[in-house]
Subunit: 138 residues, 2 copies
């Protein structure tokens, strides 16, 4: 199995990425010559992590017949001091909304993703540490 | 320094990510319950890599006063056989368009990015290998 992404420079610091048939615009901030037409490239790693584990969790909860009213995955990351700077720690917050949600099943779904299914988490743990917490908003 | 991304589940396997004030929609393929409203999460790692090194190279070439007519960064990745599957090798193609482009300066810009500036490359080298080639299209 493999993956392929094409990135095309458009102008200044702006690029168009083609991924799974969809287009994502990337751009730099104005103070480094960009126009902020899209996000910076590096935090897309956080999006990949949040999306990978978020899809796992929704899919596992479906199989467990656990219904949630809302679900968010917030990811914070800290960076190395030394250049080239990269993320050395990720904190994932799994935030569920619903009444009488079974915490044991939410924990099981999150742990299955973190320990067994999420390839992005597995990959990032080679260069970084990852911690997580589960929050229920009623 | 730190980074923050928020991901909100919308419906089925679809999520909206908020990153640097921009929204990216993620979705799964139909055969796993998605509607392909956006890309899958995992290949966003390839977009992060292509964008990080692509912005470096354009920025360095600007400083070197090298003008190109076109510039693309294509990234291919292979995955581990074992689950959870992640990318274990990336191949980056830097494709420049222009007449009489100075290969030595293009190489210098690419090498500076790969060896000194690109934090995404530095991070991914902890879990994977990265190779690259430079192509000039006249």
């Amino acid at each position: 199995m493999s993956a392929k992404v094409e990135l095309k420079w458009t102008n200044d610091m702006s690029f168009e990425a083609s991924v799974n048939g969809h287009t994502i615009i990337l751009d730099a901030e104005p103070h480094v010559g960009g126009q902020d037409r899209g996000p910076r490239p590096k935090p897309l790693i956080l999006v990949a992590l949040a999306g990978c584990t978020g899809m796992d969790v929704i899919s596992i909860l479906n199989k467990m017949r656990v219904q949630v009213d809302g679900f968010k995955v917030d990811v914070d990351a800290t960076m190395t001091e030394e250049h080239p700077r990269y993320y050395d720690h990720f904190t994932i917050k799994y935030i569920f909304k619903g009444n009488d949600l079974p915490m044991d099943k939410l924990e099981k779904a999150v742990n299955l993703s973190q320990e067994k299914y999420c390839g992005v988490s597995e990959m990032l743990r080679k260069s970084s540490t990852i911690s997580h917490e589960i929050i229920i908003e009623e």
